[in-house]
């Protein structure tokens, strides 16, 4: 046996492909969750609408086009700087409707409460839900409450579903991005993920940072009023900006190129990411969106968003290229390039 053969014998084990049980990464918003959706859910439900994998579905009733979406919230801890599970549950669902180009009409609210959860905390969360609804101008019109035994839940889980009416003349979808389009982001990325992480036990991270949890609807309205030809919108929640771009690149079968120096990231988010070994491009936002717009309208769309205080941090970060279909490439500050892949594994579990 020569040296090379000897070395080749020192090797790693066979993979254990049959997971057999659900793991945290199946809900992490990354590759493993995508596999679960593609391999289990899509074949089971055989729905062309579902298969589009947008933030919400667009369904037609007569001549009316409606957006319909649902989201479940398991964030830990339920109260964090800049928000709580209640306001987050409203923002998340309303943002998903906004990403379809819809105006919200009605929300449902499903609560799973654990026996022993403090009534004062519940009261606080309900008030937060009401305040978020009132700010957006949407109502909770139906709901459901379940309680599980102490130790069988984790305080509180919330599901919200939402129905919205599509704005006329607006046609957005994850498959509509085309070569030459510009890519915009509505503000600095990663605030939510790092704020929740810092609020957790076990992380000695002191920061003034607040979650970006907010309804993006006013920004989206301002942009669509000015530029109705917006092609694609997406809110970069779990998996962050990079994963959202990868999903768009695959859905639209295009290549995407972004500039590292153009992506807005707050210094405190960058600092926390350096400490914790995260990449801000993969950290969740809950009050930002990506928009893909025809290049000639990019300045107008950006100006419309930036004109509002919540959109002051919006930036143009890149473009859709025809090269390398389905790939997202980052141009680094030092002029080199690297590919951005979807989030792999779970970066920050239970962030929303």
């Amino acid at each position: 046996m020569n040296d090379f053969e000897k070395l080749a014998r020192l090797a790693c084990p066979l993979p254990h492909n049959d997971d057999g049980v659900v793991q945290m990464a199946h809900g992490g918003g990354g590759r493993k969750m995508a596999q679960l959706i593609e391999q289990m859910f899509l074949p089971a439900f055989q729905s062309d609408t579902l298969a589009q994998l947008g933030d919400g579905a667009v369904v037609s009733i007569g001549s009316e086009r409606l957006a319909f979406t649902t989201d479940t919230f398991v964030v830990q801890p339920p109260f964090f700087p800049g928000g709580d599970i209640g306001s987050l549950a409203v923002h998340g669902t309303v943002n998903d409707l906004a990403m379809c180009g819809a105006e919200p009409v009605a929300l449902s609210l499903g609560l799973v409460l654990e026996e022993g959860f403090a009534m004062a905390d519940l009261q606080h969360i309900v008030a937060s839900i009401a305040a978020a609804c009132s700010e957006i101008g949407v109502s909770v019109v139906t709901g459901d409450t379940k309680v599980v035994d102490r130790g069988k839940g984790d305080g509180i889980y919330i599901n919200t579903s939402g129905i919205g009416r599509l704005r006329s003349g607006i046609h957005v979808g994850p498959q509509r991005a085309a070569v030459g389009d510009a890519i915009l982001v509505s503000g600095p990325v990663g605030d939510h993920g790092i704020a929740v992480m810092a609020a957790r036990n076990g992380i000695a991270l002191q920061t003034e940072l607040k979650s970006d949890s907010a309804a993006v609807l006013p920004l989206v309205r301002a942009m669509l009023d000015r530029v109705p030809t917006v092609k694609t919108m997406r809110d970069p929640t779990r998996g962050g900006l990079a994963t959202a771009l990868c999903e768009i690149a695959v859905s639209s079968q295009v290549g995407i190129r972004i500039d590292e120096s153009a992506v807005p990231v707050r210094p405190e988010v960058r600092g926390a990411c350096e400490l914790l070994g995260f990449d801000p491009l993969y950290v969740a936002c809950e009050g930002r969106f990506l928009a893909i717009v025809p290049a000639e309208q990019a300045d107008a769309a950006l100006a419309a968003v930036q004109a509002l205080p919540a959109g002051a941090g919006a930036r143009r970060i890149g473009e859709v290229t025809e090269k390398e279909s389905g790939r997202v490439v980052l141009r680094t500050r030092i002029g080199s390039h690297r590919r951005l892949e979807r989030l792999s594994g779970e970066q920050l579990p239970r962030i929303c």
Binding site: L10, A11, C12, P13, P15, M24, G271, I334
Partner: protein, 371 residues
């Protein structure tokens, strides 16, 4: 951001690249020892902008990657024992053992917890006196002081429900194993800066002399790495072979004496089996006789567990820099971060993970270099 941005400054990087270009007259092959350095090189695309005559090969400096299968299997056996709280750094959780990984054990009911500091595991032991708490002490010389401190604190506080599964390894013996192997192509080494912060770098001087190669203590930011490359290339071009420090801002010749003291108190040097390199004499740390009561292998009666390393994945070659990750026929096909064949694909310091995560396929680099 201070202390980071100045080491990523595009102007300074371009200037240093020009100096490297002006210095290099022949092809040279350097190995960056540490997996953290490998990840920086790929994350910042330094392989794309360095002169093509300079070849960087990736070293074994990923502690998760070199931890042998039997130690993972011991971890799984301990974690699956009723009543145990098994604490580990997050990296270790996705490394495949013979029967699944720690994440799967967790999904099946084991109490596996990610900690960010070994002292957090000690705190858990203090809070849960009725549970046995085990910390998976993995790492090179860099993490040894903090892990030693965990045992020190547990002993001081008389915590008899705390123990450690130790898989500590040492850099210099591994470098000697690589440099003395037949067909070794390494002409210069970028030594691991953070290891040297703890140990200093006197131990590297006999290696530089014996194998006649330059060894440059190097940091992790782009400018640090380029400084390391430049210093190594200058030495090679001049025919020199000495230890040089390009990471003066944190690494000194004698290291950190307080850290070395607690390591010497808690650990003693022992033989270790490395995944990819095999058994290397005096290449790791085990708990010293005074701390033997904290040895989880003894507490759980697993010291005799032996598992042969199977033959399907080529990470042994990757860890020695003899195979580039993308040259492995399984890379990105049967072997992905979701279904890794080996630890090099899942560790945040693993070379295969870096190539996969940063999409560094051969055709990509060629396309971007030409674009």
């Amino acid at each position: 951001m201070r202390y980071v941005d100045e080491y990523r400054d595009p102007e300074a990087i371009r200037a240093l690249l020009a100096r490297i270009e002006a210095t290099i007259t022949r092809p040279w092959t350097l190995m960056e020892v540490c997996g953290g350095q490998t990840h920086s090189i790929l994350k910042f695309g330094l392989d794309e902008i360095l002169p093509s005559r300079l070849r960087l090969i990736h070293g074994p400096g990923c502690p998760v990657c070199v931890t042998p299968l039997e130690q993972i299997d011991r971890a799984l056996a301990i974690a699956s024992t009723p009543g145990v709280i098994f604490c580990s750094f997050g990296d270790m959780l996705r490394v495949p053992g013979s029967q699944g990984d720690l994440l799967l054990a967790k999904a099946r009911g084991a109490d596996v917890r990610i900690v960010y500091s070994p002292l957090d595991a000690v705190a858990i032991a203090r809070q849960e006196p009725s549970r046995r708490v085990v910390f998976f002490a993995v790492g090179f010389e860099t993490t040894a002081p903090a892990n030693a401190m965990a045992a020190h604190v547990a002993a001081r506080d008389g915590l008899d429900n705390f123990s450690m599964l130790v898989a500590h390894v040492l850099v210099p013996p591994a470098l000697e194993a690589l440099l003395s192997a037949a067909g070794c192509e390494i002409q210069g080494l970028l030594a691991p800066g953070h290891v040297c912060v703890v140990t200093g770098y006197r131990d590297y001087e006999p290696i530089a002399a014996r194998y006649r190669i330059p060894i440059v203590v190097t940091g992790f930011e782009p400018l640090d790495l380029l400084r390391g490359v430049h210093a190594a290339v200058v030495q090679l071009e001049r025919g020199e072979a000495r230890v040089e420090n390009q990471y003066e801002r944190v690494a000194g010749i004698d290291g950190n004496s307080a850290a070395r003291r607690v390591v010497a108190e808690v650990f003693s040097v022992c033989d270790r089996k490395w995944r990819g390199l095999g058994e290397i004499p005096r290449s790791g740390y085990g708990l010293s006789p005074a701390y033997a009561g904290f040895d989880a292998e003894r507490v759980f009666g697993l010291a005799d567990l032996r598992v042969a390393e199977p033959t399907d994945c080529k990470s042994g070659l990757v860890l020695q820099g003899r195979l580039r990750p993308t040259q492995c026929p399984q890379f990105g096909k049967r072997c992905t971060p979701e279904h890794p064949l080996g630890a090099t694909m899942v560790s945040s310091e693993g070379a295969c993970a870096a190539y996969f995560h940063y999409g560094r396929t051969a055709d990509f680099v060629a396309a971007e270099a030409g674009a």
